[in-house]
């Protein structure tokens, strides 16, 4: 992701103002690999700025996403997750238990521009659903059972 300084310039250059809350959001996103939700950003931000509104967070994240500075990622949890990693083409690991999301680089066999089964491909998104290390540890014995039968019923994303 661009640095907070670059973003400041970019925002001003495009007629947007850089407020303290926006600057803090830039900083919070910097190098964050946890794919936070809007609510999570809000939670972290309101720890420091008691008066921020959730609305402002949504607005700023939406703006960043529409500028291509961050990605909004849908991994099938009900809420969108935001991803500052726009440099590296990657896919996602999702923990089925705690909903932690982590980057993973996988070679995808379908590239944009290709035609497959008549479809002109734009992008391919892969979500690998499993149990993160800490959830495996917490479940111990039961982890294997979880992955086998567990809540692995629904398909896709």
């Amino acid at each position: 992701m661009k640095s907070p300084e670059e973003l400041t310039d970019l925002f001003r250059a495009t007629g947007r103002k850089v407020t303290p809350q926006r600057r803090r959001i830039f900083e919070l996103l910097q190098g964050d690999g946890t794919h936070p939700s809007a609510e999570e950003i809000y939670r972290r931000l309101s720890a420091e700025m008691a008066t921020v509104s959730l609305k402002t967070v949504y607005q700023t994240l939406g703006e960043l996403a529409s500028m291509g500075v961050i990605l909004s990622v849908d991994v099938g949890t009900r809420s969108m997750r935001f991803d500052p990693n726009v440099e590296t083409d990657h896919q996602h690991l999702l923990c089925a238990r705690c909903e932690a999301v982590r980057d993973v680089v996988l070679s995808v066999e379908v590239a944009p521009g290709e035609v497959i089964d008549g479809y002109l491909v734009m992008r391919t998104d892969v979500v690998v659903k499993g149990l993160c290390p800490s959830c495996q540890a917490e479940l111990g014995e039961a982890a294997a059972r979880w992955t086998a039968s567990g809540s692995a019923r629904s398909a896709a994303s």
Copy 2:
């Protein structure tokens, strides 16, 4: 998917009743490769049975899904899509314009049971987003531009 007859037996064997609306839902799903939403099933069904309620459709689809007879698939459109194809392990093509969903068989490089990056894998879902043949035809010239810039901004599923 199991045949309507098999489903009838299965329902009765598990203490469920087989009503005309349920039987029709079984039949509508049979061999349907379009991955209809609950609303779509409801639309089709109410064309024949004026009094069906959406509630009943949701209920029956939910029951079928929890019995493993069909899959409920989340491809990132806001609504769940239902899939009678539980026999073949497969992935999905999604049209970014009309939201048509089609099966596609892709070899996935991450198998359940494997551990990748510390995650114990349960399942891998791939959604290939692109333009379906008819949308390409309708867009003509503009199709290529659509896939390039178009609404390809958000990631995953």
